[in-house]
Symmetry: C3
Subunit: 266 residues, 3 copies
């Protein structure tokens, strides 16, 4: 899993995307061997799928946002995931405490600025957190534009300006670290009908941060794993309910070989 | 979708119930074309099924009850749904703020007074909200009796007295606006084994309020859609877990034609 | 369901374990006839599976932790289940109020000290509650060691010292009341991949407390019912998502005869 970035050109080359897929496959195996604990401060609607998705993937979730406890949980976890959905006042303080604890303990942090474009106060808080330079930010197009303060914001420019990695999900997934970019058109339209599937992507990115060399590689591995599991689930279900159950089954059953044989990046 | 109430007798006539079914079918199509955002302040246990049910139906859920954010979310949503389950103190304030914002923006409101008969304080709060005349109230028999303060309370009398529409769910569903009444015996006994299926009915009523001429028609369309999806799901499952998944699949796959051919109202 | 403990040796004898299985089967039937309401103050991630699991089993869940309401709900419920997951400050006060109300009304209480070994403050609170002698404590090995303050703590010694019944879940389930012990190796490895399946075990123990003669028998009945439902679900599914749905189906469909024919205790 050592990076060989100095020997190869970063970016779009064929060998480089093959490399990324191989690293994703190795990271998936490493994740299952290590079983990292990922502390997620996440909205209540997303908690069941986030926790079940992490367990299915092979990680261990913890979820408290109690002001008294969150520092202990975050400092002892392997990664911290901050999700801004249904952001009650207490949770804002819990997030600040948890970020301090995780940074103090040298743990990587993922930020998921859910619906940041709808509420000015949530936007202000998201920017406060962004200034602390989380390892990566997972968001959709509306949220990126909201954070960047402009329409059709450039993910690469944003990543560079903020000193973070952008994991942008949608019909096409894109990861950008300011210089390198990876794109994937994997996935399935039913993913958008399962509430909090984006929150799950963020939590999975947190899990992969614990076993990847760089946030860029972690984001690619997480999005690829979720998208390919989604494709496989979508191939044998007809609607959102059975798809959600099949998605967890596929995350659980997915092997590194499935990534190696099935992943297409550009 | 314009009402033609002046040309037809309200109430029990055959053509009138056919009308209601046709309007429900048109509303279902309109809902999918419009994809309304429905803001739900709802108890934490119900959040996953409410969010997934709305997505499966074709609407977009948002769920925050943060005091700082809820006015922005409610005012910009197409409808507001207030559910009194697991009613923490903060959520009570959030509900007041959200109702003000929704009313100020001219958005319709649904009230779901969960378990109001168990707690005197919750009852007092439900009555405070009822005085603000939500477009419709979705409840079960115990909750209606609790709110009305008497056993076997008359839904029509209650609707008229409170200036709202009553959507009463149970073995038989009933909608009453004080003068018109519609009854449906659709549904499936497994619906009662899925937690928060009543909360989902309320949320769906909120979605239909955005595309129906009257709250009465919206309530009929919502209960009929859920009940027929439930019948279809129950026809191919054996227990609560597989039923819940199948229910979301059926909500997603249900077409206006299924209502037109299958619905029986009286 | 009367205990005949005076006629038989407690503990490991063959007739005694047969007895326990028969009592579990009778309790399952009694639970479905009675439909007890179980009030659960439980972490938000566990709420859907706890509520759906109780409904599938034949009990009625309620879940509020509102400071204003929780005394009414707990005093009128048939049992109270206290779960320490995601323990916000308000919930701590709610738990104190609910325990007072339940004890005042003579209702049995289950304590589930989730992740108590991770946070010193949660541990202190768990010990405060333990001093109030809940009827039973449901936990895993890490939590038992955390509570007992030593590695590989002895469940029997702990039960005796604390005046409670220990229901310890893991690869092998064990129930100990300080003198009697029952062990079961039923279950399925996928149970560990479903978030909050331990919380569900605790909630089910609460339901069985309302129909069993002793907390020891209630704990045995609850763990056995869940483990056998899990075995049956695991026999026809391939991953965590379909397993979770099948688990609810099996809880719903499980009959006393399934326990009588399938249960192996030692």
């Amino acid at each position: 899993m050592r990076s060989d970035g100095h020997r190869r050109a970063p970016g779009a080359g064929g060998s480089s995307t093959t490399d990324l897929v191989e690293r994703a496959a190795s990271a998936l195996q490493a994740l299952r061997d290590r079983r990292p604990r990922v502390h997620c401060i996440t909205n209540t609607v997303s908690q069941p799928i986030v926790a079940n998705g992490l367990l299915s993937l092979g990680a261990v979730p913890s979820l408290t946002s109690s002001l008294d406890e969150v520092a202990d949980f975050a400092a002892r976890a392997d990664a911290l995931v901050i999700n801004l959905g249904t952001l009650e006042a207490d949770r804002r303080d819990a997030i600040r405490i948890a970020m301090d604890a995780a940074r103090g303990a040298g743990r990587p942090v993922v930020l998921d600025p859910v619906f940041v474009e709808v509420s000015p106060r949530r936007l202000a808080f998201a920017r406060e957190l962004l200034a602390l330079q989380p390892a990566l930010v997972r968001l959709n197009r509306g949220e990126l534009d909201g954070l960047a303060g402009e329409k059709a914001a450039d993910p690469g420019g944003f990543a560079q300006a903020q000193g973070t990695v952008v994991a942008l999900t949608g019909a096409e997934d894109l990861v950008h670290d300011g210089s390198r970019v990876a794109r994937s058109a994997h996935g399935h339209h039913l993913l958008a009908t399962v509430t909090a599937s984006g929150c799950l992507a963020s939590a999975m990115a947190g899990a992969f941060l614990t076993v990847s060399d760089t946030p860029f590689e972690a984001a690619v591995a997480a999005l690829l794993t979720l998208a390919i599991a989604g494709e496989r689930a979508g191939g044998r279900t007809e609607g959102p309910g059975s798809f959600a159950a099949a998605l967890l089954d596929e995350l659980y059953g997915l092997r590194p070989a499935h990534l190696l044989s099935g992943a297409r990046l550009s």
